[in-house]
C-alpha cells in the first residue's frame, strides 16, 4: 500500500485489524539506513547549491581549465574513483556471497572492500598533499576551499562507514550467524554504493570547467 493510499483511509469506520504483513518485511536497520541516506543527500545537495552560488562570484578560479589551475591532470582522482568503485563492487560481492551462504567468500570480499576503501582514503590524502605542495591551501581560493570541504566531508562519511564495516568484518571472522553477516554485508554495500554516487557528484563538480558550472547554475536559477 502506498503512502498516499494509506493516508486516504477513513480510520473512524469500524474495520477488522489488518493481518500481519505477509512475506519478509524490510529490516528496521535497512529503513534506518535509507532515511540516513536521505539526510546525506540533503547535506551534499545543499553543498552543491552553495558551490554553484559561490562559483558565480567574480573571484572564483576553477580547479581545471584555466592557466595555473591546481588540478592539472585528473589521473590521481580517476585512480581513486576506480578504487572506490572496486570497493563498492567487493562489498556487493560480499553481500551476494553472504546471501548464498558462501561464508569464506563473504569474509574475503568484506575485508577486500575495506582495504580498497582505505586505499581510496589514502589516495585522497595524496591529492591533498599534492595540492598543498603546489601552494593551493584551503583559503587560497573559494574553489580550493570547496575542494577540501567536499572531499573532507565525503571522506569523513566513508570513514564512519569503515567503522561499521570493520565491525561487520570482525563479526564475520568470529562466530557470527549467517543472517547477521548477511544483514551487515548488505547494509555496508548499500552505504558504499551511495557514497560512490556522492563521490561521482563531488568529482564532477570539482572537475567541471567554469562554463559547465555556469550552465548548471543557470539551470538551477542561480543568476
Amino acid at each position: 500500500m502506498s503512502f498516499l493510499d494509506a493516508i486516504a483511509a477513513k480510520p473512524w469506520l469500524p474495520q477488522a485489524a489488518p493481518p500481519p504483513r505477509a512475506g519478509t518485511a524490510t529490516a528496521a536497520a535497512t529503513v534506518g539506513l535509507r532515511v540516513f541516506l536521505g539526510v546525506i543527500s540533503a547535506l551534499f545537495g545543499l553543498l552543491t547549491i552553495a558551490l554553484l552560488v559561490r562559483s558565480r562570484l567574480p573571484d572564483w578560479q576553477a580547479l581545471v581549465g584555466v592557466p595555473g589551475a591546481p588540478l592539472v591532470g585528473l589521473g590521481a582522482l580517476w585512480l581513486n574513483t576506480a578504487l572506490l568503485a572496486a570497493s563498492s563492487v567487493a562489498l556487493q560481492a560480499a553481500s551476494s556471497a553472504a546471501r548464498r551462504e558462501h561464508l569464506g567468500a563473504a569474509r574475503l570480499a568484506l575485508a577486500l572492500g575495506g582495504i580498497l576503501a582505505l586505499a581510496f582514503l589514502g589516495g585522497q590524502g595524496a591529492v591533498w598533499q599534492q595540492f598543498m605542495t603546489s601552494g593551493h591551501f584551503v583559503a587560497s581560493n573559494p574553489a580550493t576551499s570547496f575542494f577540501y570541504l567536499l572531499t573532507g566531508l565525503h571522506g569523513l562519511h566513508l570513514a564512519g562507514g569503515l567503522v561499521a564495516l570493520a565491525r561487520a568484518t570482525m563479526h564475520a571472522w568470529g562466530e557470527d550467524t549467517v543472517p547477521q553477516l548477511r544483514a551487515g554485508a548488505s547494509l555496508c554495500a548499500l552505504y558504499w554504493h551511495f557514497l560512490f554516487a556522492v563521490w561521482l557528484l563531488v568529482f564532477a563538480l570539482l572537475a567541471s570547467p567554469p562554463e559547465t558550472l555556469a550552465t548548471l547554475a543557470d539551470i538551477c536559477g542561480i543568476g
Binding site: F3, A6, I7, A8, A9, K10, P11, W12, P14, Q15, A16, A17, P18, P20, R21, A25, T26, A27, A28, A29, V31, G32, V35, F36, G38, V39, A42, L43, L46, L47, A50, V53, R54, L57, P58, D59, W60, V138, A139, P142, S145, L149, L153, G223
Partner: protein, 586 residues
C-alpha cells in the same frame, strides 16, 4: 509491525542503577533525561531574557549589563530557546516518551543510538554553556549569526564564543540526526498490530513529520555552520566579502553573506514547523480528550500536517525581504507564505469545531490547549502581515517582528509543552500535578505573556527597532514608549518568577501528588492502557497490545462510557484488559 516483537525478551531484564537511570537505553528514561536537560538550559535562557528586559525597562539601572553583555543575552536566549529547549524537548522529550507508547512498541528500534543521541545532545549543551566562561564570553551576534559581523571584532564573543557556538550546533545536529532516524524508523517499522498510519494519534503524526523536517533541514544549518567555522578559523571566504575591519583590510574577499542567509533560513523556517507540528499534534489530542469528542476532520488534520511540512521548505526567503536578494524572489516567497496559511487555518478551524458542543473539562491541560489556540491565531495573523513584502519592509527589524515570532514560536509552543506536561505527567510519575498550582501557573503565564507581547506590536508600529541596547535620543520614539517598556519588563519578571511555581509543582507532586491510576483522563490512546503506571521497561508486559480502532472514539453513541480505548475490539460486548465492558460500537 513485524518488528514489534523484536524486544519481547528484554522487558524482564534486571538492571543496575547505572544502566537503568544513567546509561539507559529505555526510551522513557532517555525522554526524561532529554526533558530535564532541556528545561534546565531553558531556565538559563529565561533568566537571560529577564536580564535583557531589565536593561530595556530600566536603562542603565543595572551596571553589570553593558552593551556587549546585552547582545550576548539576546543571542544566547534566542539560540537556547529555539534549538536546545524547544527542539530537544519536543523531539527528544515528548517524541522519545510518546512514540513507542502511543504506537504499542516496546522501545525505539535503535535503543543504543537513542542513548547516544542524548549524550551527544548533552555534550552540545555543555559546549554551548562553556562559551559563558571563555575570554570574551559567548557570541553576541544575534541568534541568526549573520556574517560578516558574527565573526569580526566589534561583535562580542568573536574570540571563543562564536567558535563554541558553531561547534555546539554541529554536535547538536549529530544528536538530532541520531534521534530523528530513530523516531522516523520506529514510526515506520515498530507499530503494534492494527496500528495503521491513519490510526496513529495526531501527536505521533506531528512528531513524525517534524522529525522528517529536522532530518532534511538541519543539514542546512550544518553546512552553514561548518563553512562559517572555515571562514573564522581557516581564513576561507565562503561568506566573507572583502572588508575593512577596525581600519584593517582583511584577507577575506569575494564571499557572499546572502548565501549564509539562504542556508540559515533554509534550516530556520522548517525549524519553526519542527517546533510547531509536535505542538499541533499535542494540542489536537489534548482538545479531543478533554472535550470528550473525536477530533474534527482527522484526515484533514493529517493532510494539513504533511502539507505544512512540505510547504515549510519553500518559504524560507520571507525572512530575507530586506537582505538585498533579488527582489523578484519576494513575489514567490510571499505567495508560498500566504498559501501555508490555508492548511494552518484548517487546523485551527478543526480545533474550534472539536470544542463546539463538546463536553469541555476545563482542567489544566485543556486551559493550556485553549490558550495555545488563541495565541497561535494571533501570532499567525501577524505572520500574514509580515509575509507581504510591502508590509514587511517598514516593519522589518522592529518590535512588531519580536512580538510576532514570540507569540507564534515562543509562547504557543511553550503553552503546548506545558499542556502536554500536565497531561502526561500522571503517566510518567503515576501522580497528578497539583491542580491549584497548575491553574495559577496557567493564568499568570497566559495573561502575563499577553501583557508582554501585545504592547510590543504597538512599539513596532512606532518604529522601535529590535536589538538596540538603549533607546535614548531617537526622536521618532515618544517618551511614553519607555513607560510601556517598563510595564513589559515588570510583566516579564512576573511570568519568569511564576515558572518557579511550575518547577515546584513538578518536584513536589512526584512524591506528594494525588495517585493518578493508569488512565486518569479517560483517554483512548495506547499509552494510557499500559499494565503498569509508570510503564515498566518493555512497556507492555508479556503481550503486545493489538489495535482495533482509531485514536478518537470519545462519546461513541450507545457505548457504556464516554471513551473506548484503541485496544478494545470492535465487536459486541468486548472486554478491555481490566475486565471493563465497553458495550457495542455502532
Amino acid at each position: 509491525m513485524s518488528h514489534a516483537d523484536s524486544h519481547a525478551d528484554s522487558h524482564a531484564e534486571p538492571l543496575g542503577f547505572w544502566n537503568r537511570y544513567i546509561w539507559s537505553q529505555d526510551h522513557k528514561v532517555i525522554a526524561i533525561q532529554y526533558s530535564v536537560t532541556a528545561i534546565a538550559v531553558g531556565l538559563v535562557a529565561l533568566v537571560l531574557s529577564n536580564l535583557m528586559r531589565l536593561q530595556i525597562g530600566f536603562p542603565g539601572a543595572f551596571e553589570f549589563i553593558d552593551a556587549a553583555s546585552y547582545y550576548q543575552y539576546v543571542t544566547m536566549h534566542g539560540m537556547i530557546m529555539v534549538i536546545y529547549l524547544l527542539t530537544a524537548l519536543f523531539l527528544g522529550g515528548f517524541g522519545n516518551y510518546l512514540i513507542p507508547l502511543m504506537l504499542g512498541a516496546r522501545d525505539m528500534v535503535f535503543p543504543y543510538l537513542n542513548m547516544l543521541s542524548y549524550w551527544v545532545y548533552l555534550l552540545a549543551v555543555v559546549v554551548l554553556m562553556a562559551s559563558f566562561f571563555v575570554p570574551g564570553g559567548p557570541s553576541g551576534a544575534g541568534w541568526t549569526l549573520y556574517p560578516p559581523q558574527s565573526i569580526l571584532p566589534g561583535t562580542p564573543g568573536t574570540d571563543g564564543g562564536i567558535v563554541l557556538m558553531l561547534v555546539s550546533l554541529v554536535i547538536f545536529i549529530v544528536a538530532a540526526t541520531m534521534g530523528g532516524l530513530n523516531y522516523v524508523t520506529t514510526v515506520l517499522q515498530a507499530r503494534a498490530r492494527g496500528m495503521t498510519l491513519m490510526r496513529m494519534p495526531l501527536t505521533v503524526w506531528g512528531i513524525f513529520v517534524a522529525s522528517i523536517l529536522a532530518l532534511l533541514a538541519f543539514p542546512a544549518l550544518f553546512v552553514s555552520g561548518v563553512m562559517m567555522l572555515f571562514d573564522k578559523l581557516l581564513g576561507t571566504s565562503f561568506f566573507m566579502p572583502a572588508i575593512v575591519s577596525m581600519g584593517q583590510q582583511l584577507d577575506h574577499a569575494g564571499g557572499s553573506p546572502v548565501l549564509f542567509q539562504h542556508l540559515f533560513w533554509f534550516f530556520g523556517h522548517p525549524e519553526v514547523y519542527i517546533v510547531a507540528l509536535p505542538a499541533f499534534g499535542i494540542i489536537s489530542d489534548l482538545i479531543s480528550t478533554h472535550a470528550r469528542k473525536n477530533i474534527f476532520g482527522y484526515r484533514m488534520m493529517v493532510w494539513a500536517i504533511v502539507g505544512i511540512g512540505g510547504l515549510s521548505f519553500v518559504v524560507w526567503a520571507h525572512h530575507m525581504y530586506v537582505s538585498g536578494m533579488n527582489p523578484y524572489f519576494g513575489y514567490f516567497f510571499a505567495t508560498t507564505t500566504l498559501i501555508i496559511a490555508v492548511p494552518t487555518a484548517i487546523k485551527v478551524y478543526n480545533w474550534v469545531l472539536t470544542l463546539w458542543r463538546g463536553d469541555i473539562h476545563l482542567n489544566v491541560p485543556m486551559l493550556f490547549a485553549i490558550g495555545f489556540i488563541s495565541t497561535f491565531v494571533i501570532g499567525g495573523l501577524t505572520g500574514l502581515f509580515l509575509g507581504n513584502v510591502s508590509v514587511d519592509i517598514p516593519l522589518s527589524d522592529t518590535y512588531f517582528v519580536v512580538a510576532h515570532f514570540h507569540m507564534v514560536m515562543g509562547v504557543s509552543p511553550i503553552l503546548a509543552i506545558f499542556g502536554g506536561i500536565y497531561h502526561w505527567y500522571p503517566k510518567v510519575t503515576g501522580r497528578m500535578l497539583d491542580d491549584t498550582l497548575g491553574k495559577l501557573h496557567f493564568w499568570v503565564t497566559f495573561l502575563g505573556t499577553y501583557a508582554i507581547y501585545f504592547p510590543m506590536h504597538y512599539l513596532g508600529f512606532l518604529g522601535m527597532p529590535r536589538r538596540y541596547y538603549a533607546y535614548e535620543g531617537y526622536e521618532f520614539i515618544p517618551a511614553s514608549a519607555q513607560d510601556l517598556n517598563a510595564f513589559i519588563t515588570v510583566a516579564a519578571l512576573v511570568v519568569g518568577v511564576t515558572q518557579l511555581v511550575f518547577l515546584f509543582n513538578l518536584g513536589w507532586s512526584a512524591f506528594r501528588g494525588k495517585p493518578a491510576g493508569s488512565n486518569p483522563w479517560g483517554a483512548t490512546t495506547l499509552e494510557w492502557q499500559t499494565p503498569q503506571t509508570p510503564p515498566a521497561h518493555g512497556n507492555w508486559g508479556a503481550t503486545l497490545p493489538e489495535v482495533h480502532r482509531w485514536a478518537y472514539d470519545y462519546s461513541v453513541p450507545g457505548a457504556a462510557r464516554d471513551f473506548i480505548p484503541q485496544n478494545v475490539p470492535q465487536d459486541g460486548d468486548a472486554e478491555g484488559d481490566d475486565g471493563q465492558v465497553w458495550e457495542g460500537h455502532a
